[in-house]
Assembly symmetry: C2
Homo-oligomer: 125 residues x 2
């Protein structure tokens, strides 16, 4: 099996390129029990998460990952916690926004799905 | 049992007030298998984590939590993922630094310990 840093990197590249390309294609990454907290709003289930993501009030979006850290979420499971910080450019706004996002990835049939997803914009001091 | 948002809030208040008061007292929150990734550096075990935290190159430090989100880390366990963003004031620097921190809390004998801890400063655009 690939090491968790490689898995985390591949996941993050896939996640944000899909998000920036066609957000509705993210549905394969979530399950019925998946949870997203988006800017403090809790959302549960793949269907509700995709509805939320596809109705966000912007059309063009581009994520730039700045830091990526991964850890096994327990000594006894192959699940992975991934923490990302980066910049988000939305529509034609000249100023990118800083964001932080935490994922909890659970192995499933040779791949991983997102059990937990917490997203926040960081507005700074 | 208290709901997870209350537990997360109490944990975060205790964690940062202890960090800002006397970092060596954080040792009770970690176990031998706990993991910290500090600014990209992976560290394992309570002893090594406390050694890292107590030798950070500042004496005065104050955390200000800006956002706090919590989710159960799986449908079947009472473990909690906590994501924090906030500001960090170090020594007599006039400019606070933005930070993000992710914790994975595992229940243990009526309390919780930190299995995963990922800390990053956010330098912005």
């Amino acid at each position: 099996m690939a090491d968790i840093n490689t898995i985390a990197q591949q996941f993050v590249e896939f996640y944000y390129s899909t998000f920036d390309g066609n957000r509705s294609n993210l549905s394969s990454l979530y399950r019925a029990g998946s949870m997203l907290t988006w800017e403090g709003t809790p959302i549960q289930s793949a269907a509700s998460i995709i509805e939320k993501l596809t109705t966000l009030p912007f059309s063009k979006v581009q994520h730039k990952v700045e830091t990526l850290d991964a850890q096994p979420s327990s000594p006894s499971t192959p699940s992975i916690i991934v923490a990302v910080t980066g910049l988000l450019q939305v529509d034609d706004s000249p100023n990118p926004l800083q964001f932080s996002q935490t994922f909890h990835l659970i192995p499933d049939e040779g791949s991983y799905y997102v059990q937990n997803d917490i997203f926040r914009l960081n507005y700074g001091a």
